[in-house]
């Protein structure tokens, strides 16, 4: 049951680690990792989010059903992102912004 009372020291350590991780995120953004910049940013953000969920939101002490609920939510988010990416990754073109100009009678905004 979630009546478990966590010690204040745990909260402080979690807070400190979140602040450090924020600094890490900002620092990593200034380092040119090419493609991996985005991946690093998302990994750090994901880790910070799991810290907040696990300790601040007491997910650690919750029933399995709550953990399952969160997992199901993330699973369907991955489906939404993944399957849309299937389409956009396999499209053989990047859209050219159309020719927007006043006098061309073919394309108007």
């Amino acid at each position: 049951m979630s009546d478990h009372v966590s010690p204040v020291s745990l909260y402080i350590t979690i807070f400190a680690s979140l602040m450090v991780l924020t600094a890490v995120t900002v620092g990593a953004a200034f380092v040119n990792l090419g493609q991996f910049n985005f991946l690093v940013a998302m990994l750090v953000a994901g880790f910070k989010a799991s810290l907040v969920v696990w300790y601040f939101m007491h997910m650690k002490y919750q029933s399995h059903l709550t953990k399952l609920a969160l997992a199901v939510g993330l699973f369907f988010l991955v489906i939404l992102l993944g399957e849309t990416m299937i389409d956009y990754a396999s499209k053989d073109f990047t859209p050219m912004p159309p020719k927007i100009d006043a006098e061309s009678e073919i394309v108007k905004p």
């Binding site: 073109f93 859209p95 050219m96 912004p97 159309p98 020719k99 927007i100 100009d101 006043a102 006098e103 061309s104 009678e105 073919i106 394309v107 108007k108």
Partner: protein, 340 residues
């Protein structure tokens, strides 16, 4: 095919219409078989085991795993057959042959504008030769539309801001419907037209009578001078711009190191946003023509540049500049189509 004068099956006017219809009849027979078996069983069991006396209860049958597996696995297999067949027909529908004749279609709120390479422009009307694969490149000017040829069994959405394409090879001369299948506002129902499939000679005759202002490539040449493109793009290649002779299909070196294949999209981009890709050894001097050239003129220019590299352009589309055979008989007045 009609019953009591009511048409209940569309006529098959394109080569792959038959493939689509055979697929349709396959799935129809499989589904009717399953639907009928279920219907008959349900009615038979209902009557055979109807309740005779009050308080009578059914037999204690919990279920049977083999039966369940049977009617999960068999439908899966049938579904995979349907998927495979459907996917092969779809792949055939969505891959235009290379030698297809090119037509541009632009959807605009409540009309279809067709543009032939030879310069003809038609609204809600389309004349095409039978027996030749035709690739229609479709775009829209405002909202979503969808170019739909029911008798050819094909359609594609017209999306503003990008090109989509469909292809067909008309097999049976005649006049068939064109519909807009994507809701596009008040007169969506009025955005219809008719496609007239003509015998090749009749089509050439129609071209003769119909084309105004010579072929697209000739119009492109005139624009080439008009916009002073030839002041930089000299054939000798000494000018400030690269020579455009025989460049279609080749790959060019760019200043920022990578290469690009010279195709429609590359030509289009170099005209509209010339700064994007600069050929190695040249300065980024070319102004962008965005907003100075209309779509038709742009297509004409592209055709002109393609006509400057004859051996490449024969591989992609009708040999530009080939004048229709002079000895075609004077065409009768353009066949009056049923005005929509």
């Amino acid at each position: 095919m009609t019953i009591f004068g009511i048409p209940i099956f569309p006529d098959q006017a394109s080569t792959f219409a038959k493939d689509v219809d055979t697929l349709y009849f396959f799935i129809l027979t499989v589904c009717s078989f399953f639907a009928l078996t279920v219907a008959i069983l349900v009615v038979y069991f209902g009557l055979r085991y109807r309740r005779k006396r009050e308080g009578q209860t059914g037999a204690r049958i919990e279920g049977s795993l083999p039966l369940e597996l049977m009617w999960s696995v068999i439908p899966t297999v049938i579904a995979m057959v349907m998927f495979g067949w459907g996917a092969s027909v779809f792949y055939h529908l969505r891959r235009p042959p290379d030698d297809a004749m090119h037509i541009y279609a632009v959807g605009k709120q409540w009309m279809w504008k067709f543009q032939h390479l030879e310069g003809q422009r038609e609204i809600n009307e389309l004349h095409i030769p039978a027996g030749r694969p035709i690739k229609v490149t479709v775009s829209s000017e405002d909202v979503l539309h969808s170019l739909y040829f029911p008798s050819f069994r094909t359609k594609i959405d017209a999306i503003p801001g990008r090109y989509t394409e469909l292809w067909f090879e008309a097999s049976k001369p005649g006049t068939y419907h064109i519909f807009c299948a994507e809701y596009c506002g008040t007169n969506h129902a009025g955005m219809i037209g008719s496609v007239t499939v003509l015998e090749p000679q009749a089509y050439q005759a129609w071209l003769q009578g119909g084309g105004e202002g010579g072929t697209m490539a000739e119009r492109g040449a005139r624009l080439f001078e008009q916009h002073a493109c030839n002041s930089c793009h000299l054939d000798s290649g000494q000018g400030r711009g690269p020579s455009l002779k025989n460049i279609v299909g080749t790959t060019v070196e760019l200043t920022d190191g990578n290469t690009a294949v010279v195709d429609d999209a590359y030509l289009r981009e170099s005209i509209l946003t010339s700064q994007a890709k600069i050929v190695k050894g040249f300065q980024p001097l070319m102004p962008t023509f965005q907003g100075l050239i209309s779509e038709e003129n742009l297509l004409a220019l592209i055709e002109h540049v393609k006509s400057m590299s004859p051996q490449a352009s024969t591989a992609s589309g009708q040999p530009a500049g080939a004048t229709p055979s002079p000895n075609a008989p004077k065409p009768p007045a353009r066949p009056g189509e049923k005005k929509q």
